[in-house]
């Protein structure tokens, strides 16, 4: 691990709407080293995806986000475009990020051509390599997105992200729409890519089991704030914050003993709007 982190977020605040709108993300700080996975876990409305959008430069924010020592709020648009090739993303629904009328080969090649990473003549060969790296075959490059299953489409989205050799991939619920057996394969692929290529992940998910399996460190978000931050083992084996404990208790595990575990949280209080109303 390098002494200076790959990504450093400090005092990040993001508001949807101007002025004194309730922040969706409030004073969030976390850091990510090269080759590391930090999990960001929380329920709907906790602000985890908003953190991802800010990191990717898709949302205006207050606070500072530093990527490899550069303050993202201050870099020029040209520089930001260069940083983007190092900072990739995959989302929950790969079908929404793939163009239905373009072959997957062209779509995997496009970011490499935009960032001038391969010459046009070498693109096809590189696409073939990438498809094989994610467990598909090179001949599939000529097919269209609808010809693939959900898990295969997510592999295509991963291949496209890999093409520009990123140091960090922001994964926002990358396996939430997949069947469990397919999810297990995609998670395994992401871990293997980390081992072989040293890619860091900011890994966002609502499924605590998935986050535990993937993450070195974990931040638990609740109502826009990080309420607990520590190594995966610390957070899941010895949770300190009452919300983390409630979240862990609520997880339904395939274990007959879970039948009678009691609940200790009021689910209506996990939305900032409800909390504001109840305070009013």
């Amino acid at each position: 691990m390098t002494p200076s982190p790959l990504l450093e977020i400090s005092d990040l605040t993001v508001r949807y709407g101007a002025g004194n709108a309730t922040p969706a993300v409030n004073n969030v700080s976390l850091s990510l080293a090269a080759g590391e996975t930090v999990g960001l876990v929380g329920e709907s409305g906790s602000g985890k995806s908003t953190v991802a959008r800010a990191v990717l430069g898709l949302m205006p924010f207050e606070g500072t986000i530093t990527y490899q020592g550069e303050n993202l709020a201050e870099v020029t648009p040209t520089r930001m475009r260069a940083i983007r090739s190092d900072l990739q993303m995959i989302f929950q629904d790969p079908y929404a990020t793939l163009d239905p009328r373009m072959t997957v080969g062209r779509q995997i090649a496009e970011p490499m051509l935009v960032h001038k990473i391969v010459p046009r003549s070498g693109a096809a060969a590189r696409v073939g390599e990438l498809l094989e790296q994610v467990g598909l075959s090179a001949e599939m490059a000529g097919r269209y997105p609808h010809e693939f299953s959900g898990g295969q489409r997510q592999r295509i989205a991963i291949a496209r992200a890999l093409g520009v050799s990123p140091s960090l991939i922001v994964c926002d619920e990358p396996t939430s729409a997949l069947d469990v057996s397919v999810q297990a394969q995609v998670l395994e692929l992401l871990q293997e890519l980390q081992r072989t290529q040293g890619i860091a992940y900011l890994f966002i998910a609502h499924n605590l089991g998935v986050v535990r399996a993937m993450s070195h460190r974990v931040a638990v978000m609740y109502l826009g704030e990080i309420v607990e931050y520590g190594t995966s083992d610390e957070v899941f084996s010895n949770p300190q914050h009452p919300y983390t404990r409630a979240l862990i208790e609520a997880v339904l595990e395939p274990d007959p003993a879970s039948r009678h575990r009691p609940l200790s949280i009021d689910p209506d209080l996990t939305s900032p709007i409800n909390v504001m109303r109840s305070r009013a």
Partner: protein, 271 residues
């Protein structure tokens, strides 16, 4: 009559096209009165088609049931009955709830009126007292301040509350069987646990049986007494939920259980 189950699905086969393989093949499932039975499987396993067959909700212009197939509810054959007769079963003796309540609720009507309409459709004699009964049932499904929620529109409610409204509609005329098709899959974990608890409490209070269709072994563990595992249109294994979870026999069930990333117990990060 006493040893006859509430719901008996026998040798169910469903085919959507003469050239394609059947979506469901030779499925037999029993649900005794007042029990909680699960059907677990992944996408395309046939679990929803099986559930939809009970209330004849598959598109019958293209869905064809096998000659030998039979579904009986309280001893009454449903598969060969005319659709007009099924209309009297739907909502009255057996109800169904789905994953997405917004596809069930009408966005332009107050939720209380929508629940009331269901109640009055089945029990016209209750028209005068319907509002009070609906408010009572909103309270029973765990909605706080039911009188105010009665007047709200679907978009004003959270996902968990909409799911509770749909449950209130489903149980308005006290069915003996509730079919829940991935009813808690879109909810946050804390909300999911609370909604499952509500369904369980209602079932226990009213002696209502629940057929829970899910992809989630955690839901089976938390909710079901008995479970059927479906794969490629067939039931590959069935048994008491605790037995299936602790000692699965079929390879597919074993693989399914092994795929679930665990939170508790020893399964640290593998990389």
């Amino acid at each position: 009559m006493s040893d006859q189950p509430l719901l008996e699905i026998r040798d169910l086969s469903v085919r959507f096209s003469a050239s394609a393989p059947p979506a469901v093949r030779g499925v037999s499932i029993r649900v005794e009165a007042g029990t909680r039975v699960g059907i677990i499987g992944e996408s395309g396993s046939g679990k929803s088609v099986t559930a939809m067959s009970v209330l004849r909700l598959n598109d019958e212009r293209i869905a064809h049931y096998g000659e030998e197939s039979s579904i009986t509810l309280d001893g009454r054959e449903l598969l060969k009955a005319p659709l007009s007769a099924i209309q009297g079963v739907r909502g009255a003796q057996a109800s169904m709830i789905f994953q997405d309540p917004m596809s069930v609720l009408n966005p332009v009507f107050r939720v209380g009126h929508q629940v009331r309409d269901v109640l009055v459709a089945h029990r016209p004699e209750l028209r005068k007292t319907a509002k009070a009964l609906v408010i009572e049932s909103l309270d029973a499904v765990g909605i706080r301040n039911p009188a105010a929620v009665y007047r709200q529109y679907p978009h004003e409610l959270s996902g968990g509350m909409r799911q509770r409204i749909m449950i209130a509609m489903a149980i308005a005329s006290s069915p003996r069987l509730l079919i829940a098709d991935e009813a808690t899959s879109a909810l946050d974990v804390t909300v999911q646990a609370a909604v499952l608890e509500t369904i369980g409490a209602l079932a226990d209070d009213r002696g209502m049986a629940v057929l829970m269709i899910t992809h989630d072994m955690g839901v089976v563990a938390r909710f079901c007494d008995y479970v059927y595992v479906m794969y490629h249109g067939e039931v590959v294994e069935s048994g008491a939920a605790a037995d299936i979870l602790t000692s699965p026999q079929h390879d597919y069930t074993k693989k399914l259980l092994a795929s679930v990333p665990r939170l508790h117990g020893d399964q640290p990060r593998t990389a």
